[in-house]
């Protein structure tokens, strides 16, 4: 048994150091090299730019509160869409805190003019707190508010929303969805008068 222990020490130390260099340094550096050369946009965070100015990432949601913008889902990441503090609410199905939060949010969207059922994703927090998407239904229920704030007609905004809906890949992978940041940028770029 003692011989077994003694014989294990040198290979353990050597293999750890050797593999740490290979797997912990060389391998990520190789991927970094390939990634930065072949896919520089993705490798650096899929950033969205307005000229030279970075306005966000295509993959990461951001806070929208103004009436003229489509709103994303509530976020539990930091104080909301904190890109350095991803998190879900982790509230369980019988949590009073969860029910109270949703009740207050329902009241707020009702005051905004939403009638009928509230889409299931609109007032629930995402897993990451950084969800860039909402469901098409959640976008559609906001059309009236956005149109009014921008002085556009409902059908004008509707057309932009429908154009922004992404379909599941091959009809199987993923859900129909709308990227909120990209949709709002399209709205801003549509050149219509904004009053909000």
């Amino acid at each position: 048994m003692n011989a077994d222990f003694r014989s294990a020490i040198r290979p353990s130390l050597v293999m750890l150091v050797a593999f740490t260099i290979l797997l912990g340094l060389a391998y990520p550096a190789l991927i970094l090299g390939i990634g930065q050369l072949a896919f520089p946009a993705q490798a650096n965070g899929s950033l969205v730019r307005d000229g030279d100015k970075v306005v966000g990432s295509e993959l990461i949601g951001q806070t929208f509160a103004a009436a003229k913008y489509f709103h994303g889902r509530p976020s539990a990441a930091g104080k909301g869409y904190d890109g350095q503090a991803s998190s879900g609410s982790n509230l369980g199905p019988t949590s009073k805190a969860l029910v109270d939060r949703v009740r207050a949010d329902v009241k707020a969207v009702r005051a905004d003019g939403l009638t009928g059922d509230v889409p299931g994703d609109l007032l629930t927090t995402s897993a990451s707190g950084l969800d860039p998407h909402i469901s098409p239904a959640s976008a559609r229920v906001q059309i009236a508010r956005v149109a009014k704030a921008r002085g556009m007609t409902g059908p004008q905004v509707q057309a932009i929303v429908e154009g922004a809906v992404e379909a599941p890949l091959a009809g199987i992978l993923g859900e129909p969805r709308v990227n909120v940041l990209l949709l709002n940028r399209q709205l801003d770029a549509s050149g219509a008068k904004t009053a909000g």
Binding site: A8, M15, A18, G24, G92, S126, A127, P132, H133
Partner: protein, 569 residues
């Protein structure tokens, strides 16, 4: 539940069935130590590592020697990883200038990554430097996975060899798996992930000015290289706190699908390797079938429960047909979230693409129960197979008792020593899970970390210890575990959960390897047909059920009843 959702589950299942044989055949070549096309490039690396370490790859190790080398290698690995975290403030590649990690957290994390658990009491993006993530943590995503597969190889040899003292060479098994499977597969996989939107940079952050004029700082880093091995090696330790729910770790529905397949790929392949090694691939397929049926059952329950949603929110006006979207991402939706949760806890992966803590009570019961069964439904790489074989030994024993014959499995007589060791492995783990849960549920330090009250709070504790002992690493993440109390207790649970299976199972293999092969006769219980598959499933569910049902009744089942009746906490 939607047709599209079932289509996704069917497509996933088909991919796993299709991948099992080719993956198994590749693993078999490594098991045998055969030359592969990759040897041209990596053969010199392999030989160089042996030369530096003074390793003779042809030395045949007894089960004791094999186990001791696994233990020492793992223990030294803990020390090195601990050092990386404690010294990260003075080491390079720390663009966000993070301080050294607290001792109790560093100890917990080191044990966590070496045991292939990847339980995380920390948020990666605000705690760990790039060097710690890459060299300290991701290195052990490879090595703990390779160690698991190596032990599985040794255990397979126990069944396959006859009148032999040895189980093979740990260093050769571990090195070959790393060099000829994990590393090349991850290089391709990581590049594909970068193409799909997963960042790979040494920059710390990117700063954006949002459309509304606020400043948004986005944490970045070498994510793709870590993501690939995190899934393929069933590690599950995310670069970010939100793990595979974070859009930078898992940007789209197709990366999500790829991640789910890669969790099961090696574990499924090993069932075929086992069958091939014992001379009858139908033996492997029987194990695979039992695993697959348990997986489909879990997926169905989780998908149903999450689709049904939370009546307490529907009562407020949320659209009931949308299911439970709290803690889920829109791009994945209900089906891919329920499927991922089942897959990641069937295997001991522990990556999450949705917050299990916010699942409905029954939806959360599925991942919890999966872990409690011992991570044997496909299971962790290597650990799934050797854990499952413990159940197989018990199943032939029970079958033998029923028909009054001495039990045999793949030509080996199962005798008192093997059954005792199997029972030891299966009894100790629930004792730790339930014992530690009991302690944490009554002491103030245990109750201090809860995010939810009532039965769901208890479920958070039970989930944490089930996850640690099962070396899974997923969490009901509301629990604040970065305290000395939880860090310490969970580290003990993870260490025992790993090595209290590895040591007994290697001992079983050692004793089996020494035996002669009994020729199959008309009196042998066939271990390939549907009867055997049914018996295996029965044994797994009865043992797991008897052990854990009382604890589940106090947690998720009470929670479900409360949810249906509108009782809030």
């Amino acid at each position: 539940m939607t047709f599209q959702g079932w289509l996704l589950i069917a497509l996933f299942t088909a991919c796993i069935i299709a991948i099992t044989k080719p993956m198994g055949a590749w693993l078999f070549a490594l098991y045998e130590g055969r030359r592969t096309p990759l040897h041209v490039v990596l053969g010199p690396v392999e030989r160089g590592f042996y030369a530096l370490g003074g390793i003779d790859p042809d030395e045949d190790m007894t089960w004791r020697r094999y186990a001791v080398h696994v233990l020492i290698f793992s223990f030294v690995g803990v020390l090195l990883t601990y050092a990386f975290m404690r010294l990260q403030n003075v080491l390079p590649l720390n663009p966000q200038a993070f301080p050294a990690v607290d001792p109790h957290l560093a100890m917990n994390t080191a044990v966590s990554f070496i045991t292939n658990t990847d339980w995380q009491s920390y948020s990666g993006e605000s705690t760990m430097s790039h060097l710690t993530q890459m060299a300290g943590l991701a290195t052990h995503n490879f090595l703990s996975a390779a160690t698991g597969i190596a032990v599985a190889f040794a255990v397979i040899r126990g069944f396959a060899r006859r009148e032999s003292k040895g189980l093979g060479n740990f260093w050769a098994d571990m090195t070959r798996v790393t060099l000829y499977l994990l590393l090349p597969a991850c290089i391709v996989y990581a590049v594909v992930l970068v193409a799909g939107g997963v960042p790979q940079t040494f920059a710390g952050t990117a700063v954006a000015t949002t459309l509304e004029g606020a400043k948004q700082t986005l944490a970045l880093g070498p994510v793709a290289s870590q993501e690939a091995i995190k899934m393929l090696g069933t590690n599950g330790g995310g670069f970010f706190n939100a793990n595979s729910a974070h859009p930078f770790e898992n940007p789209s529905a197709w990366t999500n699908f790829l991640q789910m397949v890669s969790i099961f790929a090696i574990g499924a392949g090993l069932t075929w390797t086992f069958g091939k090694a014992v001379g009858n691939t139908r033996q492997g397929w029987a194990i695979f079938a039992a695993m697959l049926l348990l997986f489909l059952a879990g997926t169905t329950v989780a998908y149903w429960a999450e689709s049904a949603g939370n009546p307490n929110l529907h009562a407020l006006g949320l659209h009931a047909a949308d299911g439970n979207m709290e803690g889920k991402e829109v791009r994945f939706g209900i089906a891919a979230s329920a499927l991922f949760a089942t897959v990641t806890t069937d295997a001991s992966c522990g990556a999450v693409n949705a917050m299990h803590d916010s699942f409905t009570a029954l939806g959360g019961l599925v991942p919890l129960f999966n872990m409690q069964l011992g991570e044997i439904i496909i299971g962790g790489v290597g650990s799934g197979l050797y854990g499952f074989l413990i159940y197989a030994v018990l199943a032939v024993f029970v079958a033998g008792l029923m028909v009054g014959r001495s039990p045999e499995y793949v030509g080996k007589k199962i005798e008192s020593r093997e059954v005792k060791l199997a029972v030891l492995a299966i009894a100790v783990l629930p004792l730790i899970t339930l014992g530690f849960t009991g302690i944490a549920a009554i002491v103030p330090a245990g109750l201090a970390g809860l995010n939810n009250k009532g039965p769901h709070g208890y479920s958070e504790i039970l989930y944490a210890f089930s996850s640690a002992v099962g070396n899974n690493g997923s969490a009901f993440a509301g629990l604040t575990a970065s305290t000395p109390f939880y860090d310490g207790l969970l580290a003990v649970a993870m260490w025992f959960g790993r090595f209290f299976v590895i040591i007994p199972v290697l001992a079983i293999a050692g004793s089996l390897a020494a035996k002669r092969v009994v020729p199959e006769s008309s009196g042998s219980f066939p271990t390939t047909g549907p009867l055997w598959v049914g018996l295996l499933i029965g044994i797994i569910l009865i043992l797991g059920g008897l052990t854990f049902l009382p604890s589940l009744a106090l947690g998720p089942i009470a929670d479900q009843l409360a949810m249906v009746h509108g009782q809030l906490f």
